[in-house]
Symmetry: C5
Subunit: 365 residues, 5 copies
């Protein structure tokens, strides 16, 4: 991303997604609200304990029989949520409340954690930059943590969760040996780490913008600052409530999260605050940059004006003088003087010298 020109990097075309299609509906009527981001809904089921792991791709939610008596962890990963029926069926199989299903399907949720007793519902956002035009894209991820199972719903296929899938397959790290709560922690940690990457990309662009600013400083730079600030405002809207959501996972009283995992959740909370701090810092620096730039421009205008004024001040009297002796009055005695022309030049130089001296004193030159 850092290789793009700063002018066209961030173009957050819409600050939030429409959900007017949902307005006026009765609560509980299920409908997918949001753009259709993926062609197909891919459902993958991971069943694992420290010993074994099976990974199954399921064509239809009807093919899915959850092994309720399975002692390990079941992770149902749904990529693409436009297939309302599939989402509903999977949720129903695990006893999820209709309001939660509604929230999963409506992709304009504020990040939050909700404790429904038997399960926890966590919803948050994933950011990425579009490959085509560098636009900041926001996708919603919903996680449900129950006793021995995790459900995850993504708007589209992201790469963001792939490292976790890899670690599961390769039995890497602690994720295979710990419970469903640790899996949720791992997924959240991976997502929050991805925020850091996005923030770092932004910072690199900011360095480019700064260089540009101190150089020519065209309108394009101001547009870049503008779109970057918009992107940061946009992201904060999603990251700020996440802080509260993670805090609830760390301090909440749900028995679904073990004391051991809580220590990790505290770490996650620190990371979230770190991302927030960094974004806040970036916003403040952008404000400073804009203020400084405005001052710089006004300073330059002042410089330009001085040049113009100095020039006008010198040449206006001279031109007038030349005009005077270009007049055709019959009786114009200076014209007849032998050294008239020479005196004209001397006077001209004197005027110029006085003016220059005056501007030097005024610190304009």
């Amino acid at each position: 991303m850092a290789q793009c020109a700063p002018g066209n990097i961030f173009t957050v075309s819409r600050v939030y997604k429409k959900f007017s299609r949902a307005a006026g509906l009765a609560p509980g009527e299920l409908i997918h609200v949001g753009e259709r981001k993926s062609a197909t809904t891919a459902i993958t089921v991971f069943e694992f304990d420290s010993e074994n792991m099976t990974e199954r791709r399921i064509a239809s939610p009807d093919d899915f029989i959850p092994f309720k008596d399975f002692s390990g962890v079941t992770w149902v990963s749904v990529e693409g949520i436009h297939d309302v029926l599939a989402v509903e069926k999977i949720c129903a199989a695990f006893g999820v409340h209709p309001l939660v299903i509604e929230d999963i399907l409506n992709t304009s949720q504020r990040p939050k954690t909700e404790d429904y007793g038997d399960y926890l519902y966590v919803v948050l956002k994933v950011f990425s930059f579009s490959e085509e035009d560098g636009e900041l894209l926001t996708d919603q991820v919903s996680l449900i943590l129950g006793r021995g199972f995790v459900l995850s719903f993504e708007e589209a296929r992201h790469d963001v969760m792939n490292p976790v899938r890899e670690r599961l397959r390769k039995k890497k790290g602690r994720v295979r040996t710990h419970g469903a709560d640790y899996l949720v922690y791992t997924l959240l940690d991976t997502i929050v780490d991805s925020y850091t990457v996005v923030t770092e990309d932004m910072e690199e662009d900011m360095d480019l913008i700064e260089e540009e600013l101190m150089g020519s400083g065209s309108d394009k730079v101001v547009e870049s600052i503008h779109s970057m600030k918009r992107a940061l405002i946009h992201m904060r809207k999603s990251v700020w409530p996440l802080r509260e959501a993670v805090n609830l996972l760390y301090r909440g009283s749900s028995p679904l999260i073990t004391a051991d995992t809580r220590t990790y959740m505290r770490d996650l909370y620190d990371h979230t605050i770190f991302v927030l701090d960094t974004q806040e810092t970036l916003r403040e620096i952008l404000s400073v940059m804009l203020d400084v730039y405005l001052t710089t421009i006004n300073n330059r205008t002042n410089e330009v004006m001085k040049v113009l004024t100095v020039l006008a001040t010198i040449f206006m009297p001279l031109t007038f003088l030349a005009g005077v002796y270009g007049m055709n009055f019959r009786y114009l005695p200076e014209l007849e003087m032998h050294y008239g022309y020479h005196i004209f030049w001397v006077v001209s130089f004197l005027i110029t010298a006085v003016m220059i001296y005056f501007f030097r004193k005024k610190n304009w030159l």
Copy 2:
């Protein structure tokens, strides 16, 4: 709305409504404070349970005999509140405190929830855009939730509650099978959803404004930003306290709201915060737009100044020179030179070249 030119969309002529007519009155004296927004007061009574529903239009409040022993839900919907007597009689029939009646009639209330033990009083605002000039209109809606009954008072006939009436008639959704508290939730949910629609309309206008801004950027755009910011300031004044009011419905201890409905109220609380967040985001982006626009204008002025200065710097010496050789001094040796005129042009081109070189180096060209 999005098809209008952005210049004349928002014209919030008054930030808050007058209620000076009420100042100086003794508390408890009932008087309608606000514009008379509808010609007639329409009173409709809905009596329903999961089986049956009757809908009656009542000409005068005296015709209304509430079936106090009716086991279902009674909803008295009053549209138009300038008929003080009618409002008072209906409220009296349900034992509503005079202060509440005063608040219903005075249309400059801050949104709030008040727990009077036997009933809850909720007051909030409805926003719409005037069909004629796109002005943001604010109307007050008062809701009273008692044991088995709901009273609603609207300043004028809005369409905002019609979806709920439709659902009641068509037995759609959960509203017929649940209690009066759920009906209040449904009404509030419908109103908060309407905020979202208004906010989305604003965002569409903001996109138009932005396009305009990056293009010509006339005074009209600045006025649009101005009126949009005013509208947002105005709306926040009504939505911000609503957050507190809904929170009280969700966390309050009133036995009038069942645990089941509280879950929905929590959802409503999330929606309210989402609307607030979005409006805050819009305000911040408008601020950024204004800052960026100011910088852009100054930048352009700087560009214009440079063009002027470059031109003046080149032509002022040349014009002076032409003036010199237009002088009528009897003794002006250069005029007599054979190649004088050619030398004049050579010197002119030299001056121009030096100036252009100088401005190139100064990065002005």
Copy 3:
């Protein structure tokens, strides 16, 4: 007030009143601090219950014998507090603490409620606009609520409390039938209502300012915004702490305020917050107006500069050209050409056309 020109409406000459005369004094030394606002101190005693009411004008505090055993409510209304001795004697008769007397006499108090066990001390401000020059005037009102009595101290005679006196005389409203606490509520309510009137007057002026701003937009308008913002800053300093003071009356544990009156105090609290919200809204809109105005001015400067530059760009080369053919070189071949003059005009039109085309492309025309 709304009929005045906006330019000279608000001139808050002093942000706070001097009390340096009091600095250096020992605490407890009583002295009136503030301007002497009324020539005489008028003391009026109202004694009433639901049946009877006597109203006496007292020349000297020595004439005043409080009927301590009177079962109704005694209201001692003191208008004009420069007569330190009178204030002190009245306070002493009701057992008021010296610090409270000091606060009553010093007119630069921050609004507050203080619970002294036997009585409550409430101090707040009354705003009005001077008839002469529209200046915002601030006067201090002190209220003491004891068991069966109310003391009120005003800096000068205001009309603000007259409606309450009228209601007492005419036995209107609930004030005659309820206790001293309800009388205090009524007085406070009347004062807070007067804030609303002042705020509305300001808003009308703001509409005038806005019209002016979008029109000519002279320096005078900016001064009006300035003085209005100052007035709002000034008022907030007095209204913001009032919120806390009223909250204490509503939530405090003093037995002097009955549960019934507390319901009314809650209403008063809502009104106070409403006034604060409205003033905050006005301040924000003024800020937006100033920002927008600054941008508009810069935009107009840019427009003016473009006109100047376009003109200069067209006429500078032409004037130079005319100057060239006004030169008196002996050998200047073009002058001798038969169509020289016609060619000059053709070249001039060509230059102009090229320039106009160039500026059209640059979007300057």
Copy 4:
């Protein structure tokens, strides 16, 4: 102070005092950090009860034998703290913790109250304006309140505490008849009153600045606003934490402060908040002034530009026309016309009239 020109009033040369000399030292190593502000250290001991009072000037701390069994109040007043040994000895005699001694000697303390059980340590600042150049001077005052004794340490001799000394000598007010806690209250009250005087002086200067601003409005005024704002930022840094410190004296649980004195401390707390409010108000008004001034300047630049543009627009075509008929083309038919010159003037007037009409329509004249 108010008689000085506003330009050179506030010059807060350093925002905080250096204490790098102290960095790197072990905690507990005593060293005086700060400028040496007085030549000598003056130690005065007041011993008083309601009957008697002795006042002794002590040359060396060794001469000081505290009458530990004295039933009245002992006040040891130390003016000038560069004599580290003297400070240390006095503190040791009263059992003061080394950290407190360190804080007394280091004059860059944040105002605070610390409860050490046997005694309370209060540190705060005194402001004054330098007689020479009107610079805002900050001095530190430390107060220690123990059982029956008060220690006060001032950086230099101030007049600020003299009124208290006078009252002690003249047996004026309550200070002689009340305990050590009341003496501390009196000292603090006197200091906070001095803040009010300083704030009032600033306000008078602000009125001068405002007059200046609306008049000529040179760079000097902007510098005055700048230095005043700096001074306010500087003072708030010292007054803001004082609020917390006084709150602790009023609400804290130390048995060293009697319930009676706490009532006075509450009053002191109100005064402190009042000073803070006033300074905050001044800062906000300064910000408004700066914003308004910036707008005014831009407005004036716009006016100046209009004048220039109007002039240039009228005279540029005319000068060009005059230049045209000053050309020496052999064949220039207009020159031969009899009324050519008169037509020239008519055309000139027409051009001028059209231009003026155009500018009138554009609202530039």
Copy 5:
């Protein structure tokens, strides 16, 4: 540092350090994240009680045998953390949690205190200015306080902790006679003192900037303000959370910190807040400076414009007049007048006089 030109002092090239190399890793995988700042890892072990002290330099962590039964204090000081294995081994020897080791190695931690029961983990930042280009450098310091031992990890060799080492060696101060908690306090105190030094350096630079600003005020000054504000934003991000971390040491319930040391921690807390206050003050003053500077520039542009306009207004009519009488109309009666030329000058002087009078009245001269 103060001797450098202000233009090139602060160049905080990166607001936060990269740790993308860590994103995507499983939690618990140890890797050093950050720049490799020192060539070697230096491990020094101090073992001391009030009597004796040994200081050993250890080549490899394997050489280190902690005397677990040693009754004094063991301080293991690690300088340079890129040797992951060494860090891990030392931590393991003292039973430190893997998450803490991860935090020690990842140098982009937010300052915090974490209580792991058996030990406390404190992480904070050290600031310094690069010798070469005055860049603000940030290094991370981790401290672990256990029962009788302290571990410290620095990114590189700083001088910041040397005074503590010296005091240990020379048995100076209380550090040898008190426990491990006091050692941690001393280390933290030394670091926070170093913040003060950095802040003071900044303030000196700010004085330079201010002088520059009031003088010529070139673009360079604005850049200096910019980079200084960035540095302050950057530092606050590290100092603000430290406040919370120190508060936990002072108010937390860990038995590892004695009541005696807590008194010192309270002092440290005060110092941290003092640094924060000072930096906040510096930021505010920088904002004021930028605002004032912008106003000053606009004021100067206005002055320049006035000069230009005054000149143009005087010379444009004169030049036009001279042009008129330079025209070659055959019939131009004024040219034939004997005193035509003299009248021309008189008219010129009259025009000039009228113009000057007009500008005087407009307050432009």
